[in-house]
């Protein structure tokens, strides 16, 4: 059972980065972005191009790919969401749905439907405290933790991070203080892009690269963000871990093919009992 818990921990860790991206985007842009799954997919494929087709080592490929993807998201936002900024979250949601289809199928168009893998060596596991762990899981845990720490520093210590939080909490007041919304929005998308790209690479390492890979995580990612409280980075982290572990542990008592029901039930339960999640603030519209 300890093994299952550990597996769940790893699954949860993978979800933390996209959950964080969603929560940041929601905080600043005020709508849930349904394209994040497809964004992770496309970013992972971009890194794949650098890694497998051009032969770069995975770390370099991820670093460059993530930055490029962050830039790409700024452009995507400019074309897609900026014109719709004043229209309300529902329109933005539908647009994000359409965007998700477009991005996923661009990946499909460019790379085909077959499953691919990054050019890294798979390794056999080692045992630690009677739990099987392997090198890739260590990498995943390490990278995610680093990313979380970086985000923490960013949001609490650095001016841009504080500005993001200000805009997230109260855009009008932030404007009065001279914090320029469009600049913050661009930075938010860039950082979200970094997170999603790294998240996509981790998924690709964990599983395989194929067009539906990101979308299959969509529900779990949303559940994690909602559980933690949309808008709270710490919540995203905690929420993701909880969702991951509960999902894996559930396989001990129920058939594994309904695993996806766990995040869904989580969403339903949270919405009924505590809509702001664990760490979020009750969101008051208008």
């Amino acid at each position: 059972m300890l093994q299952t818990a550990f597996n769940g921990f790893v699954t949860g860790i993978i979800v933390t980065l996209p959950a964080l991206a969603i929560t940041l985007l929601f905080g600043v842009l005020k709508f849930p972005n349904f394209a994040v799954g497809a964004m992770m997919t496309l970013a992972a494929y971009m890194v794949f191009t650098l890694n497998v087709q051009l032969g770069w080592p995975l770390i370099a490929a991820t670093a460059v790919g993530a930055v490029a993807f962050g830039g790409l998201l700024i452009a995507v936002d400019y074309l897609t969401f900026k014109p719709l900024r004043e229209r309300g979250s529902i329109t933005l949601m539908v647009a994000s749905l359409g965007l998700g289809f477009v991005l996923e199928n661009i990946a499909r168009l460019a790379y085909g439907n077959t499953a691919r893998s990054f050019a890294i060596e798979l390794a056999r596991p080692f045992r630690f405290l009677d739990i099987r762990m392997n090198r890739e899981q260590m990498i995943i845990i390490g990278v995610s933790t680093l990313a979380m720490l970086a985000m923490y520093v960013l949001l609490t210590r650095m001016p841009i991070g504080r500005a993001m939080r200000a805009v997230s909490d109260n855009p009008a007041l932030a404007l009065v203080r001279g914090i320029e919304s469009p600049r913050i929005i661009r930075w938010t998308w860039f950082i979200a892009g970094l997170l999603l790209a790294v998240g996509g690479v981790l998924i690709g390492m964990d599983r395989a690269l194929e067009p539906p890979m990101g979308s299959s995580y969509l529900i779990a990612v949303f559940a994690a963000a909602i559980l933690g409280g949309l808008g709270s980075p710490l919540g995203a982290f905690v929420g993701a871990l909880i969702i991951g572990m509960v999902s894996e542990l559930s396989t001990l008592v129920m058939p594994p093919n309904y695993r996806i029901g766990i995040p869904l039930c989580a969403i339903a339960l949270i919405l009924v009992f505590r809509p702001q999640g664990l760490f979020g603030q009750p969101y008051i519209r208008k």
């Binding site: 597996n7 077959t114 499953a115 056999r124 099987r132 392997n134 599983r207 395989a208 396989t251």
Partner: protein, 409 residues
């Protein structure tokens, strides 16, 4: 004013959408009495997209050969309409309708996947056209097909029997089974489990998983965690790639038995996971009898070396050949007539013949024949299943699939 402009735009869009539909009207090639149309639905995209192109090529070359040898029914040529079924049931159903209603086909061939076959079956029967599939699921030929549905493939239950027997032959005592939630996997799984149990071995655990799951860690943990001697895994390429990576990273030692569409897929599996992960995996696939003369003729037709293994294209060749021969024998292109001639032409009794052009000559001369095709001896049961098909077994060593043996149920 604005309203008027918007209406105009919508009308233009609508006209643009409708224009492609004019295409068939431009295609006047088959004026009555000229060519005989055959509809070919093959997966060029989707799950089974890897297999379509070769099957299409086989169809084209077979038709070229028949037309070059004088065609049928007094010199009429066969004409193919090849379309992508996208490995989808509803697409295939629409295609079948299109073949029958627009192109006036009386023979629908190809149909690699079970969903395509299942959805097109009622259409074919209702419209009295012959449907020839290359899929395994039992349900396709169940019930009353009125002689319009013919399977050019080994039935799913037979797959299970052969694999089960092989697994016992390899001496595995404890076996885990996992399968994809998919129409043709389930009968295979059931039969493998049954035959294993009958031989006194133990099935340690068995489960079903969904396609496109974020991770298969839990499934692998459950089945492989019990440390059976071997695990039979039946599914498709994408999930198998994830599963085998998990197996390797989890350090599990059970031997893995799978199907060639997952573990080989024209080399894509080894490409995706690397030689080390793939080492020792055995995979099975129904295959033609490569030692038969008919098969060797087929490889020559395809312009390939004699030892090249074609799993499915020989079936497409046979489907077209049988269509042509049955039509010739019935002296009619109407399916209601020639569907009754499929068994006489394929099962005999008559002269054994494996070349379609020669067979047509014999039929025209009024002789009885027993056709043997590239994919199999083409002997059918009354409800449309093929007899005498066998299965190949391979094992992956050093990143390459090495042939082990050919066995029949």
């Amino acid at each position: 004013m604005k309203k008027f402009t918007r209406r105009k735009v919508l009308k233009t869009l609508g006209a643009a959408a409708v224009t492609p539909l004019a295409a068939p009207f431009l295609n006047l090639a088959h004026a009555q009495g000229a060519t005989i149309p055959i509809g070919v639905a093959l997966p060029m995209t989707g799950n089974a997209g890897a297999y379509g192109p070769d099957m299409a090529e086989a169809a084209k070359r077979t038709v070229a050969k028949i037309n070059g040898g004088g065609g049928i029914l007094g010199g009429r040529k066969l004409e193919l309409f090849i379309e992508d079924s996208e490995s989808s049931a509803s697409v295939a159903a629409n295609l079948s309708q299109k073949f029958i209603n627009v192109h006036k086909c009386q023979s629908l061939v190809g149909y690699w996947g079970t969903p395509e076959g299942m959805s097109s079956r009622p259409i074919a029967i209702q419209n009295k056209a012959v449907l020839m599939v290359s899929s395994a699921a039992n349900a396709i030929t169940e019930g009353d097909t009125q002689g319009y549905v013919w399977r050019f493939q080994m039935k799913a239950t037979d797959w299970g029997i052969v694999i089960g027997r092989a697994v016992q032959g390899l001496g595995y005592k404890t076996i885990g089974v996992m399968g994809l939630q998919n129409a043709f996997v389930l009968p295979i799984m059931k039969n493998v489990e049954e035959s294993v149990k009958k031989a006194g071995r133990t099935v340690t655990d068995s489960l079903i998983y969904n396609p496109e799951q974020p991770s298969y860690r839990a499934e692998v943990e459950r089945i492989f965690g019990k440390k059976p001697d071997a695990v039979c895994c039946f599914g498709l390429l994408p999930d198998f790639v994830s599963i085998m990576k998990e197996v390797y990273r989890g350090g599990f030692d059970s031997k893995v038995v799978a199907l060639s569409i997952m573990a080989d897929a024209e080399g894509k599996f080894v490409e995706a996971v690397g030689a080390q992960v793939a080492e020792g995996i055995r995979h099975f696939q129904p295959m033609p009898d490569t030692s038969a003369a008919a098969y060797k003729k087929f490889t020559r037709l395809m312009g390939a070396p004699e030892d090249k293994l074609f799993l499915f294209p020989p079936n497409t060749h046979d489907q077209i050949a049988v269509t042509a021969m049955a039509m010739e024998k019935a002296r009619s292109p109407i399916a209601a007539d020639w569907s009754k001639q499929i068994i006489p032409v394929c099962n005999g009794p008559g002269e054994n013949i494996d070349d379609v052009v020669d067979a047509l000559k014999l039929i025209r001369a009024g002789k009885a024949i027993n056709f043997s095709g590239a994919g199999s001896t083409c002997d059918f049961t009354p409800n449309g299943d093929q007899l005498g098909r066998g299965m190949g077994q391979w094992i992956i060593k050093g990143g390459k699939s090495v042939f082990v043996e050919y066995a029949k149920p």
